[in-house]
Point group: C2
Chain length 384, copies 2
């Protein structure tokens, strides 16, 4: 017979529906509804590998968890002996603080997010490594997202970071990003953002980039000084700022030495291998073939070199080539590639440093724009 869980009576019990598969009863005397507890769970020492919490420590020491928490941190209101005992017990029980809980109450996750377009070249991994180094040193974790050059995934990435309540975000945009609401969402919630490399001009946040203009200028100037006169340029996608800055450097270098700017000597490449080859062929097919090319980056320069070699064009005597970014391959190819070196890891370090600063300062932080210096590395491919 069914007994009421309160009065233990047997009369006055009526059924009252089935809820979630279990029969429910109603006791008229107590005016209470109830279902019978599952008794069949025999024992079920499932126990779920328990991680020790401050409550465990508190119980073991017969003190309150507030005291444990105080002992575990810098806090005045704690007896040194108590503190020592807590520390010792924490060690014994192998206590690992639950950062999730801590983050929740402090509303600070000690995590920063990074959104990069890709992950394949050595460029972004190196930046991430740099950023991760300074973040780790400050006790921050890093969540990395790849937008895969897709606006939609970039938006999804931003939401993931938002949901994870990151304290700050490092972003290098997709080449197709034209709306920025997903970035502005960070600002709205007071989450600082630092752009690097592919920056968003519309947003009033900190930015870290290399001095592309100056790098390009130096590169082209170097070609001119080496006697090249009909210098072409394979640029990047028009949507990117680096494309404009490097192109500007190219133009200004020509202007500086009173060389004419010829429209047909500038082509734009979407940075894929296939398109790089296409651009290379386009230039080499010109009636008035260029005697040197400044490329927007090393992979493009290398493809150009391969195409030129296939056509038996002598490098550097008939064609000088300068790349940008100093990828490892450029060092081993023959002739070795002259290139503009960017302080890649420094970009990550700088960006992360600025971001941490912004997190620390909160409201009164003022965005800054940092421009890192480039270095021209002269190798064989540009010595006429």
């Amino acid at each position: 017979m069914i007994k009421c869980i309160r009065c233990n009576h047997v009369h006055a019990i009526t059924k009252s529906g089935i809820v979630r598969g279990k029969q429910r009863y109603y006791c008229k005397d107590c005016n209470i509804y109830f279902t019978l507890p599952d008794e069949t769970t025999v024992d079920g020492k499932q126990h779920k590998k328990h991680m020790t919490t401050i409550v465990d420590i508190a119980k073991a020491l017969n003190i309150s968890k507030s005291t444990v928490s105080r002992a575990l941190h810098e806090h005045g209101d704690i007896n040194p002996q108590t503190k020592a005992a807590v520390l010792e017990m924490a060690r014994q029980l192998d206590y690992q603080p639950n950062l999730l809980a801590k983050s929740l109450v402090k509303s600070k996750s000690n995590t920063i997010g990074i959104i990069v377009p890709e992950f394949l070249t050595y460029f972004f991994p190196t930046i991430i490594m740099g950023a991760q180094q300074v973040a780790a040193a400050a006790g921050y974790n890093v969540i990395i997202c790849q937008s895969q050059e897709s606006y939609k995934t970039e938006v999804a990435n931003a939401n993931v970071l938002l949901a994870n309540r990151v304290d700050g975000v490092l972003i290098s945009m997709t080449r197709e990003t034209k709306k920025f609401d997903h970035f502005k969402a960070f600002e709205k919630h007071g989450i600082p953002v630092v752009f690097f490399n592919r920056v968003c001009e519309e947003m009033h946040t900190s930015k870290v980039l290399v001095n592309d203009y100056e790098g390009a200028l130096k590169a082209v100037e170097h070609l001119i000084k080496n006697g090249y006169r009909n210098i072409a340029h394979i640029g990047g996608p028009p949507a990117l700022l680096i494309t404009h800055n490097r192109l500007r450097g190219y133009r200004d270098a020509l202007a500086k030495y009173k060389l004419p700017f010829k429209k047909e000597l500038v082509v734009h490449c979407n940075l894929s291998k296939k398109d790089a080859i296409h651009c290379a062929e386009q230039l080499l097919n010109l009636k008035n073939r260029p005697d040197a090319v400044f490329c927007v980056n090393d992979p493009v320069a290398i493809q150009l070199m391969l195409v030129a070699k296939k056509r038996k064009i002598k490098i550097p005597s008939e064609l000088g080539i300068v790349g940008f970014s100093n990828e490892p391959s450029g060092e081993v190819i023959e002739p070795a590639l002259t290139t503009v070196q960017q302080p890649v890891a420094d970009i990550g370090r700088s960006a992360a440093g600025i971001l941490l600063e912004a997190i620390r300062k909160g409201e009164e932080y003022v965005p800054e724009k940092k421009s890192l210096k480039t270095t021209l590395i002269v190798r064989e491919s540009s010595k006429k």
Copy 2:
């Protein structure tokens, strides 16, 4: 005059010490201690950019937060209209669930950790990319740690991941790791671990690696078939399993073709550029100079090639070279480097896949060992 906060009386108040910089009072009538509230905070509309929570939605709709939570998920006990209203309001208020809170109550962080020794070559970034792809597809975040080939940082990394309550861990060990307590800590708490590439033989967990033995065998066999007879090997650090397996492949290939194994033709390299050059010189200085070298990886092979070129040794006629790992540089160097391709991204994908499976299955998961196939990529450096 000071009034008691309870009875509002003025008499019967005595001072009772200073606590945290503020005067404390005691009311004898009420037997109560109190400090005066800070009144000076004028207004303080600091407000901290609030993120909307389910409580906000609940209030706006005048329902309980449990209902909101149910509406936001698959749950039977919810009126479709209520659900629609909640969803709409969530959209309006731009609700982003707080994953930290969710993780706390579910004791599941939806985050996996990755520990890699470094981050500079294209190898680990590519693996991470692969792992991150499948993790992201399953709604998991990734926390990446670099041990920098140091045992101590590796231990610290493990603690960070533990503290962040990751649901699972992907590990490629340091070359100096000889104790495994920090890994066993994961097991102790029921956190699954999958090793990849540099695996830990002592632990009974899943492992993903490429079939180094078979790759090496194929590589050396290829050299033999191309007419090389005095084949040397630059191996990796003895502590790594890949070193042994590749060496074993080398030996067995020789044995298969009844070629003698000569101890002096095997040297071990710690994989640094400097040591690679040193090893290369050591081999090329031998009286009985090898006519081919199978190298433990491409960077080493490339250094060897550069040293050989410097000595005007003709490749591949006088010296055949085969690398391992198919790095981009090997493709552009001249002569192009024959190498053993590993399915790098697949390592990451496989490892992450296995890990997610382990997380899903929990207790009843049985570790597996996965061996991925390699492919020999024949280029110029090995055609006598």
